[in-house]
């Protein structure tokens, strides 16, 4: 059997000139062996594409598992009985106790894992002030509903009007952190690093972001920031001590 794969590949990569294209298509109609080979090329590519998509979906599933607000889906809201709520509440308490225990007393393999747990636990939802309905609360509501892009738009328009608002910068940093845009998250957290605040989480959040980004040098830089948080008694000190303990 003659090997036509290179020729077929050239056709589908659009590397043949018009005359060659004509001959190629003519050959399909005249040469059964060649037509078979073209069909195999296409079938293989499509089968590979389907396989790749399957793998991508598995990866998406993992990404979704990290987005707890989004997958917090109530399937049968209306049919659920009161006792189920009670069981759920009890289970939630057990899970929380377990998570707290595993976070603070067990030894995770790395500071990165501990940072991941902290982010998932503490940035899952952000606290809202009940009864207040301003732009900030609206942004937080959107965030808590998992509508990150709408929350981003809300906070970005706020920061354009009020460039010194550290709270908004912090929220923007947190959203970008959750979305995996670590460079942008760092950019926002850094912007209020030097602000004199009663509790400034800038450096602690930068450290978390660096641990999550995990590029060369990030771990060391995160350690330095956490040491600074510890030494200067900044916001996040208690967790910083625990993270440093795992180094």
């Amino acid at each position: 059997m003659e090997n036509y794969l290179e020729y077929i590949d050239a056709y589908f990569q659009r590397m043949l000139d018009p005359e060659e294209i004509k001959r190629f298509e003519q050959k399909i109609t005249e040469d059964k062996e060649f037509a078979d080979e073209v069909a195999f090329y296409l079938s293989a590519k499509q089968s590979l594409k389907a396989e790749g998509d399957r793998e991508k979906k598995e990866w998406f599933r993992q990404l979704l598992a990290q987005q707890k607000p989004v997958i917090n889906i109530d399937r049968n809201r209306l049919a659920r009985k009161v006792w189920l709520y009670r069981v759920s509440a009890a289970a939630a308490v057990i899970i929380c106790v377990f998570l707290a225990w595993s976070m603070f007393f067990s030894k995770p393999a790395s500071p990165q894992q501990m940072a991941e747990s902290y982010i998932n636990e503490n940035f899952k939802t952000l606290s809202i002030k009940m009864g207040e309905k301003d732009s900030l609360q609206e942004g937080l509501r959107l965030y808590n509903e998992g509508q990150y892009d709408s929350a981003l738009q809300q906070f970005e328009s706020m920061i354009q009007r009020d460039t010194g608002n550290y709270k908004v910068k912090n929220y923007l940093g947190i959203i970008y952190l959750r979305l995996g845009n670590y460079d942008k998250a760092l950019q926002y957290f850094k912007q209020f690093e030097d602000d004199t605040l009663y509790a400034n989480p800038s450096q602690f959040n930068q450290a978390l972001t660096l641990l999550k980004r995990n590029m060369p040098g990030d771990k060391q830089k995160a350690k330095e920031l956490l040491e600074h948080v510890r030494d200067q008694d900044l916001d996040g000190k208690e967790i910083a001590l625990k993270l440093l303990d795992k180094w």
């Binding site: 399909i28 499509q46 991508k56 998406f60």
Partner: protein, 198 residues
């Protein structure tokens, strides 16, 4: 302020699109950001379209996969915001799903569609190739993919995902795109032999 000059895409949307269009290591980061950013569509699928959770996830995943393909191939024009565009794909896929359900077609039993690939073949030759493709034993082909070896499989998956040989060279640390092309065709040949020797 001139509203007509307002950019359609936000900075973040533009960054996501640029990442995916780069086709290298950046693409995966862009894909992750795209998936995460609009994952709340799944909730919409459940509450607005009354879909089971798994169907809503599939619908959203298919939307993202389709969007990635379009962005990577440069066919997303950016005439609307990324969210609007993505939602229109999501909605269209929902309509397709409904149509499939009402015509009682299970996606599992459908043959893989190669219609997009056949667009590049003239009508005259198309029916011949289509008939031959329809005879493909997809299950066997899938099984043989595992047997070509991990390196070959990885390279062929990237190729089918639309990566150019030069991008594959960068990702898989080959010296040149020519080496990738030779290796890729050799892998394809190996797959063909395995398939035909069934």
């Amino acid at each position: 302020m001139n509203l007509f000059n307002k950019p359609t895409l936000s900075t973040d949307e533009r960054e996501i699109i640029d990442s995916i269009a780069q086709n290298g290591n950046e693409r995966k980061k862009g894909e992750e950001r795209l998936f995460n950013r609009y994952a709340y569509f799944i909730k919409e699928g459940i509450y607005k379209y009354s879909l089971p959770e798994e169907d809503a996830f599939d619908l959203y995943s298919d939307t993202i996969i389709s969007a990635i393909e379009k962005i990577a191939s440069g066919s997303f024009q950016g005439r609307s915001s990324l969210k609007t565009w993505l939602y229109s794909i999501f909605h269209n896929k929902y309509v397709d799903l409904l149509r499939k359900k009402t015509t009682n077609k299970s996606s599992i039993h459908q043959t893989l569609s190669i219609s997009d690939l056949l667009l590049e073949i003239s009508d005259h030759s198309k029916s011949i190739v289509q008939k031959l493709v329809d005879k493909t034993d997809w299950e066997i082909l899938r099984e043989r993919l595992v047997q070509v070896g991990e390196n070959c499989r990885q390279m062929l998956l990237l190729w089918a995902d639309g990566y150019a040989d030069k991008d594959i060279a960068g990702l898989m640390e080959y010296k040149t795109s020519d080496v990738v092309k030779t290796t890729r065709l050799r892998c394809l040949e190996k797959l063909k032999q395995l398939y035909h020797n069934t």
